[in-house]
Symmetry: C2
């Protein structure tokens, strides 16, 4: 395994290379250097962390090609509604988009694995699985290519918070009847525990909490959450967001558009996506600490989910994965990711976790 | 802070841009597209994780420029001895090198901060500090440029292990008289605790431990350590390597060579270095877990350093930083990094650490 992975690491993944077919003849390549793509976003401009991932990516591609390859970034709704970005890329309305793979779970629940596994991998683990253990290749071959797109991580949020609650959560009983703004597969888990999951756009969360239409809402983490002002109407800020040990956001590229690129442009796009992912992770890690301090200063009450709540959620999550695993693609991705999770934590719990544990204990003294 | 950092994030850092001066006129740029650099390494070919970071970087640059910009990778000793790579880049014998900034602490102890801070930052924190909080800009302006080079991270190892010991370490007393193969500032700390730090090349560690010339040796982590076979002669494998919560390795570029590059090549080099850093981190995270299992199966005895030992090391480390901080550059970098460490762990201990803690507890059931 190691040798193969090592040789492959960082090269354009096999699935992506194959999708591109043989390189076009040199003459044709030189004649067709001017390329303009549209990239439609699922995230608004004021969510500058994620919006910035797209503009960083676009800038890197432009700089590397002396402006010959231009990727124009469009806000949600300018060309395509926020939640239809991947479909629009699949059907060729746009060449590319920046969205969450998980927004497509209505099409196929396996799209979840591109973003995160509930009680799954942390950010470093998810990227190791994608970049080094053929996880990205598997997603492309088993799923994305069937929907006429190729996928590349473009951002990683780090472990997310569990969200803002109007009342404290002391036991699994407190989840019963809770009107919780949460989507995706995590919403199904909360539903099994008696909550009422709600789908509400970011801009509507504050008034819904204020009016009591909902009791709780999850979003991302301190820096992004701060803008929504939720601490004023739902002061209990819970952690961890067990359903998002990381949040990987994707560049999807229409498959024919990818195949039309010359080989050097494909390499530039692929590597620019990796650079943007690293830089966005660094950006979150730099912006979240001062944002947390500001939120606490403004009255946010930070609370850990009780272990009884985490245990109840974990047990329901295992059952949910088993049910969805009747689908063979879901089953393969789940097995693959779960096995790596077990193997990886056996190692990370030593040097990495012990180092952080000691640092945190010293800080508390 | 956020706004400035956000705008700058991912752009060629100010210090680097300034070093490059104004872009050359377009005609001159087009006429001078063929560039060949030599890149000399401090790491041998059989250390494939780190060697691979250099070849990945070189490949990305070549692919992005259709082979016009070639970076030839040389093993230690082919052109320059392993530990003289940075000096050779400073004096222009080669255009670039891949080495540890910390290998230059004999020239100036502040070179340590490019690699790691003892009891310092973990990998994500160090890269956030470098890429987003102007840490890399500061290192370049305050230190690297004075030595006629520009520095870029090219690899991150993750938190390292504490090394291989012939006998168990039960208290700080067991460090007295211990002949420990360890370099850099960590060696100074162990010396203050009564150990006898030793500088021994990687290839000589095994026979030195076998003969009892030394009692212990640290190297990197499971995958790299496995090749040295140390479990056979020093079975106690301690964690964490508190002196290396991460290990950042650097591409250094000779300053005139950097200034001679056209703007698009500077952007390609900068971004390829970020891509290589992300991919090497993913590679370590993928390769270390199975290597740990193999080591344990072959008899390695994994042990945590006792808290009394960590506390003694921590206290000596604080004193050492205070002494070195008489130098104003060291003082500024230390203060800057320490402040971020405190702020960052206040945040990471919530979502990120609680998520990992729960996952590890579930795994142990």
């Amino acid at each position: 395994m190691e040798r193969r992975d090592f040789l492959k690491a960082g090269a354009v993944p096999a699935a992506l290379g194959a999708a591109g077919g043989l390189a076009a003849p040199a003459v044709a390549q030189q004649a067709n250097r001017k390329v303009t793509w549209r990239l439609t976003l699922s995230f608004p401009r004021n969510l500058e962390t994620l919006y910035g991932a797209a503009t960083t990516f676009s800038r890197i591609v432009s700089e590397a090609t002396q402006g010959e390859f231009t990727i124009r970034v469009f806000s949600p709704g300018e060309l395509v509604p926020a939640l239809q970005a991947r479909e629009a890329t699949s059907n060729g309305s746009v060449e590319s988009c920046f969205t969450a793979s998980s927004y497509s779970i209505g099409t196929d629940p396996a799209f979840m694995f591109g973003t995160v596994l509930l009680f799954g991998l942390n950010s470093r683990q998810q990227l190791a699985w994608m970049y080094e253990l053929d996880g990205l290749g598997k997603l492309n071959r088993l799923l994305y290519e069937k929907h006429n797109v190729l996928g590349f991580p473009l951002a990683s949020t780090g472990a997310q918070m569990g969200g803002w609650f109007r009342k404290e959560i002391r036991s699994p009983e407190d989840l019963r009847g809770l009107k919780f703004r949460i989507g995706g597969l995590a919403g199904h888990v909360f539903q099994r525990l008696g909550s009422v999951p709600q789908q509400i756009a970011a801009g509507d969360i504050y008034p819904s909490l204020e009016r009591g239409t909902i009791d709780a809402a999850e979003w991302i983490g301190p820096y992004d959450d701060e803008k929504l002002g939720l601490y004023k109407v739902a002061p209990y800020y819970y952690y961890p967001g067990w359903w998002e040990g990381t949040g990987i956001l994707h560049l999807f590229v229409n498959k024919p558009a990818w195949e039309a690129l010359p080989a050097d442009y494909r390499s530039i796009v692929h590597n620019a996506s990796i650079t943007a992912t690293q830089l966005t992770m660094a950006r979150y890690d730099a912006l979240n600490p001062p944002a947390l301090l500001r939120l606490v200063a403004q009255g946010a009450q930070v609370r850990p989910f009780p272990n009884t709540v985490l245990d109840a959620c974990y047990d329901e999550t295992v059952k949910l994965h088993e049910e969805y695993s009747r689908d063979p693609v879901y089953a393969e991705l789940y097995r693959d990711m779960s096995n790596f999770r077990t193997e990886s934590y056996r190692w990370l719990q030593l040097a990495e976790y012990a180092f952080d544990s000691y640092q945190i204990r010293r800080l508390r003294r």
